[in-house]
């Protein structure tokens, strides 16, 4: 309905394959960026409505961080077709890596620390990805549970990882970027928000670049038909490992942020248990397998939905929190099933269909 594409034609391949080939989409994208980078931080600084901390902690930070993780998992599951249930464990690697780096190198910029944590996680991810050459489908999914349980156990039992603290917890010291504190108790809401936002945009940009070209196509080729992929020269192990590596890199970044920026202090079993692996998988499924945009809206959905349910059931209806929590399970479970039945490609596909409708408007097809 709102699309006016006539006359918007492409004269080069670069323009033909740009991320937002339609002008209106491009404008929408820039508008969202402007809101995210200017409007929201301004509102946080001015503390509009008085709930800057609540909004940041309950919605903005979890959304940004989970979106990063979700993009990571989507690369592995949605693009490369390798189902993983070990994401919680990989997030824990990112978190503990960042903790060790922060405490070992106090002068290192948190930005570098986060990236390094991602890199370390990538290494661990590749290690656990090795069996993927021989194991396929849900055999692999179960195998990734090994990563989940082993890693959580390791961070729980090996005291070196939590610097021998008595509580077994890790807690993030204050660290800053360009003079702005982004971790620790004194960091401001807008600084944390912007830090995570920059990383999300960066991750999304890299993910888009990787998935649009040679590597992305090799992932999808492995996903769609591994035998045919091999026949045109795609080396299966290398390709799968690259997906494991990139995926874990992003998940590791998310893990580091989740601990250092969002939680501040964490205990591995609670913060990075298997429930987190499933949560992330649900984000990817509901958002849309094989779509970066889907990963982001999937994360938004799974972050917002419980907040909303809780607000309605506990806030409005005065139900006990445990009933609300049970409802959340029922709701999420049903939603997953409904999505898989009706639209296995998730919200992103719904969005695509809607867009297609709008582009054809007023015609139905």
């Amino acid at each position: 309905m709102f699309y006016r594409e006539s006359g918007d034609f492409k004269t080069t391949y670069a323009k033909d394959t740009q991320t937002f080939p339609i002008k209106l989409d491009r404008m929408g994208y820039y508008t969202i960026l402007a809101i995210a980078f200017v409007v929201i931080p301004t509102m946080l600084v001015m503390n509009v409505g008085g709930g800057a901390n609540y909004w940041t902690n309950a919605i903005l930070l979890p959304f940004l961080i989970w979106a990063i993780a979700s993009i990571g998992l989507n690369i592995l599951v949605g693009y490369c077709g390798q189902l993983s249930l070990g994401s919680g464990g990989f997030m824990a690697v990112g978190a503990y890596a960042s903790y060790k780096l922060m405490t070992s190198f106090p002068d290192l910029s948190i930005f570098i620390i986060v990236l390094l944590s991602g890199a370390i996680t990538a290494g661990v991810g590749i290690l656990f990805g090795l069996p993927s050459l021989r194991i396929k489908g849900f055999y692999l999914a179960v195998a990734t549970l090994a990563a989940q349980f082993f890693l959580v156990w390791m961070f729980n039992k090996v005291q070196w990882f939590y610097n021998y603290s008595a509580s077994g917890q890790i807690s993030a010291p204050t660290r800053s970027v360009f003079g702005f504190e982004v971790t620790g108790a004194t960091a401001s809401a807008e600084a944390k928000y912007l830090f995570c936002l920059v990383l999300l945009v960066g991750v999304a940009w890299v993910a888009r670049n990787l998935t649009r070209g040679r590597i992305g196509r090799s992932w999808m080729a492995i996903r769609d038909m591994d035998i045919a992929a091999e026949i045109i020269g795609v080396a299966p192990l290398k390709t799968k490992l690259s997906a494991f590596g990139i995926s874990s890199f992003f998940i590791g970044i998310a893990g580091a942020l989740f601990f250092a920026v969002y939680l501040g202090a964490a205990e591995v079993g609670e913060a990075f248990g298997i429930q987190k692996s499933f949560l992330l998988l649900f984000m990817v499924i509901i958002g849309g397998l094989g779509s970066i945009f889907g990963s982001i809206i999937g994360a938004a959905f799974m972050v917002l939905m419980p907040v909303l349910l809780k607000n309605i059931m506990v806030g409005q209806l005065n139900w006990a929190t445990d009933i609300a929590a049970h409802f959340e399970f029922v709701f999420v479970g049903a939603l997953i099933i409904i999505f898989l039945i009706l639209e296995p490609h998730g919200l992103a596909q719904l969005w695509r269909l809607l867009k297609e409708k709008l582009r054809l408007w007023p015609f139905p097809h």
Partner: protein, 272 residues
Amino acid sequence: MNATAESYVTEDGRTIGAPVMEMKNITLKFGGVTAISNISFDIREGEIRAIIGPNGAGKSSMLNVINGFYHPQEGEIWFHGEKRKPMKPYQIAQQGIARTFQNIALFKGMSTLDNIMTGRFTHMKTNMLMQAIWKGPAEREENLNRDIVEHVIDFLEIQAIRKTPVGRLPYGLQKRVELGRALAAQPKLLLLDEPMAGMNVEEKEDMSRFILDVNDEFGTTIALIEHDMGVVMDISDRVVVLDYGKKIGDGTPDEVRNNQDVIDAYLGVAHD
């Protein structure tokens, strides 16, 4: 080099060169079953070489041996004058051997364009970092290869379905896209496993034309399996006939047509 290795010119003016691929005494067994037994034949540069035979004759197994899915227990494979070591299929692809499948093996989740772009995989070299940054070498490489792919699309006359997901295409077009993917690799040797299976007469004619054009325009060496005898005899330069894993005939279409063993095999004379 012996006399048979010399090149010659066909009636329609194409130059057929020395053998690019030689299969020497290949034997392939699955457990106790012998799928291919002591078969030798060669494929010459620039020719269209057909492999025919009744069902279960070992034709597909032969293609699978050529591109490394199966490793024969005995025998040697010589490619471009060198004896080939045991290799993975993707390494063989990198050597310049592409193929299509009997049952379409396209990447269902991708568009026609992306499927064919995937065929360029072995020709694209930018590393992960460059890909992540995109601007610069990766984008340049992508656009350069897009141009090559677009020529393939133009060649196969599939412009109108460029951005259609392949899953939505009718069978005949899917076959064409699969050929496009193999062509995009600019292979030295192109293997076609029943390229015309399940097609109607018109589609078969189109496909034959494309195969001949590929061979003619790009000088691509082609080895194909096909059931339609009429098509095989029309388009191929030489034919090798397999039956029960054994070679029973090898030569020009005319020679093969008059070979008594071949006639017996096709008329269903009992094997003893």
